[in-house]
Symmetry: C2
Subunit: 394 residues, 2 copies
């Protein structure tokens, strides 16, 4: 994906440049048909524990083999239970996107926390950051001198200095400074009293297929290396060189990178399978939904709408989710509580009242719609795990 230049005003953003090729279509048609329990009120989220654990183990094994720390991003699952499974498998700590997520994890005793976000520590957030810093091992992202000074002021009365890492823009053009501006931000942070421990980036331009994804991963490695060198030259000891994004995590797990922060890999999703980053049988979470209407010819309507599946849809992806059991069907429109599924003439359709599994396009915002995950094995529900940090965008 090579589009999404900064400052163009394009609304397509990261959705624009990837193309649907035959391989992508083929992968999406091979999505595994999940076994799931009967009798649940829909819509709900179902997680296959075997697939989940396999995904956790596979990513950990890859990183272990490379000698690279894995610090999973919990924004995907927002679940203490799943974070604990990741840590038990060998994760070095967790990544969070907000102070709210950090607080939920710290409340559960998960205290090695990288807030990989340029937190603006003013007002109530300054107090909350200080409280978090007092009870957890926190690293916070910075990408401006002013932001760094805000963090320093927030923790000014703390017994220990706050560790920070400078965010680098490796090509997504969202947050982060250029590699040659990293030392300037680091010096400002140090001058304000913060402990600068390294650099990080999110290769979000790697939400692409094939060569574009590899290029994005190379960008992460190369620009983090350049930035780390600049910090070293300015007298900093660089202990953290952290890359992250599920599509590029494996590709960018090479020196000098020493940490990866993927999130989506625990569940994968339709977008990731389409990009070739996840396998068609590695999707661990599905939305269970009931066919509530077949009144309009040529379609059926599910009870999983935009408040479940969301309207997240890259331009290269057809529809708002996939039905593995009905690979010809397209989730063509979503409304708050309705998903209209177009059934091509002559192809099988789910019956009125049938419960179907839907693989969401992008799993992270879908999980954020629900209070709990139904978790099971081989189609049998075993437990319900709370989505502990649901709604904690603050």
């Amino acid at each position: 994906m090579t589009g999404s230049a900064a400052g163009t005003g394009s609304i397509a953003g990261s959705d624009s440049a990837a193309t649907v090729d035959t391989a992508t279509c083929g992968r999406l048609r091979r999505l595994a048909v999940p076994r799931f329990p009967a009798g649940l009120a829909t819509p709900c989220l179902y997680v296959d524990l075997d697939v989940l654990d396999r995904n956790i183990a596979a990513m950990q094994a890859t990183m272990d083999a490379r000698g690279i720390a894995l610090r999973p991003h919990v924004k995907t699952h927002k679940s203490v239970a799943i974070a604990r499974r990741q840590l038990a498998a060998g994760a070095a700590g967790v990544t969070v996107g907000t102070l709210g997520e950090a607080e939920v994890m710290a409340d559960a005793g998960i205290t090695d926390l990288f807030v990989a976000y340029p937190v603006w520590a003013a007002g109530p957030k300054a107090k909350r950051l200080a409280a978090l810093h007092a009870r957890a091992q926190v690293i916070v992202g910075i990408d401006s001198a002013a932001g760094a000074r805000g963090l320093a002021a927030a923790v000014a009365r703390s017994a220990t200095s706050l560790r920070v890492a400078v965010e680098i823009d490796s090509g997504q053009h969202r947050t982060g400074v250029t590699f040659d501006a990293a030392a300037g931000v680091a010096v400002a942070a140090r001058d304000a009293g913060l402990e600068v421990i390294g650099v990080f980036t999110h290769g979000g331009h790697g939400y692409a297929s094939g060569a574009d994804r590899s290029t994005a991963a190379s960008d992460e490695v190369r620009l983090l290396g350049e930035a780390a060198a600049r910090l070293g030259a300015a007298g900093f000891t660089v202990s953290l060189i952290s890359a992250g994004s599920s599509p590029t995590a494996v590709l960018s797990a090479v020196a000098p990178v020493n940490e990866e922060r993927p999130g989506t890999y625990v569940f994968w999703d339709r977008q990731m399978v389409g990009l070739g980053a996840g396998e068609p049988d590695a999707v661990a979470l599905v939305v269970l939904s009931t066919v509530v209407s077949a009144a309009v010819p040529g379609q059926v309507v599910l009870d999983a709408g935009a408040k479940t599946l969301t309207k997240d849809r890259p331009a290269w992806l057809d529809g708002f989710g996939a039905l593995p059991a009905y690979p010809s069907a397209t989730v063509s429109r979503v409304y708050d509580y309705h998903a209209v599924v177009w059934i091509p003439p002559g192809t099988p359709a789910p019956a009125l009242g049938e419960v179907v599994a839907v693989v969401p396009n992008h799993v992270c915002p879908v999980v954020n719609q629900f209070d709990e995950l139904v978790v099971g094995r081989a189609g049998v529900a075993l437990e319900r795990w709370p989505v502990d940090a649901r709604g904690r965008s603050d």
Copy 2:
């Protein structure tokens, strides 16, 4: 809006056919700059109580003047406090989209409930429907004989019969039967033991501007009338003829329609203002968000991302929200916790750390991301109201 024919497999759906005209652009540039309280942790939702009450009163006055019952859809606000304000202003009851929303309202003592959705009453939902029916005055939507039989089975042991209304497809082609199929569904429902009280529709194809919106409203009135006549001819007493959708509510509030079910009108939003359905100074809810990064030239980044603003964006609307104080800016990309705001060269930009108000494109799924609304007047926060039915898509 004339697109979105059934069975075409188009993913554009209701987004496709409206065009951006000069009037729309002008209206969106005139969005009122809200006064809001300082010192809140962002992102959060702020509701101006004066504007909210004005919107509630205005819609009620219009319906009162026409002698038409107003039964607001609570899926927009999901708030008991706001539902009570609507009832105090004269609403005849409330509309809900799910059993979960109905249960939350009933728990609060709001018991005149129209579940305007073809509920599939199997498994746990059958039990829940029976329990709800036992403690509230419930009407449920039907659009199939099989669905009606499921409802009847669920309440088979109840002391009173369940009231149902037949949903008519007036042009949105989502759920609902054609007017000439309404009597067949009604007869099946009566034969199953349900009390058929009338017909309803949602003129969702009225999310359009100008003439297309008027046409959609006319469709609602005409096809509801036809369906009611068919029911009458089949021996039913038709006491309910209910139309609904905020863009068409006023336009379709004419006989034989005797009830309207708009939801979004309490807050309005960017889409509704763009369509001409709401006024630029009638937006009652804004997302408050902080500028957290200005590292990439030509843009700033807000902490209100896709888990706040959602990715809801009709094709005719530029960007994922509007900043009334910065009318030239475009919310060009959103990620889970980031919104990239493109600033055209030479135009004002919010400063790093500044809190800005964002008018969301579609307010309903945005409210569903939050546990509470901060409510105030003249820029002073007064109370926090829970989003009681948040996440109740079940």
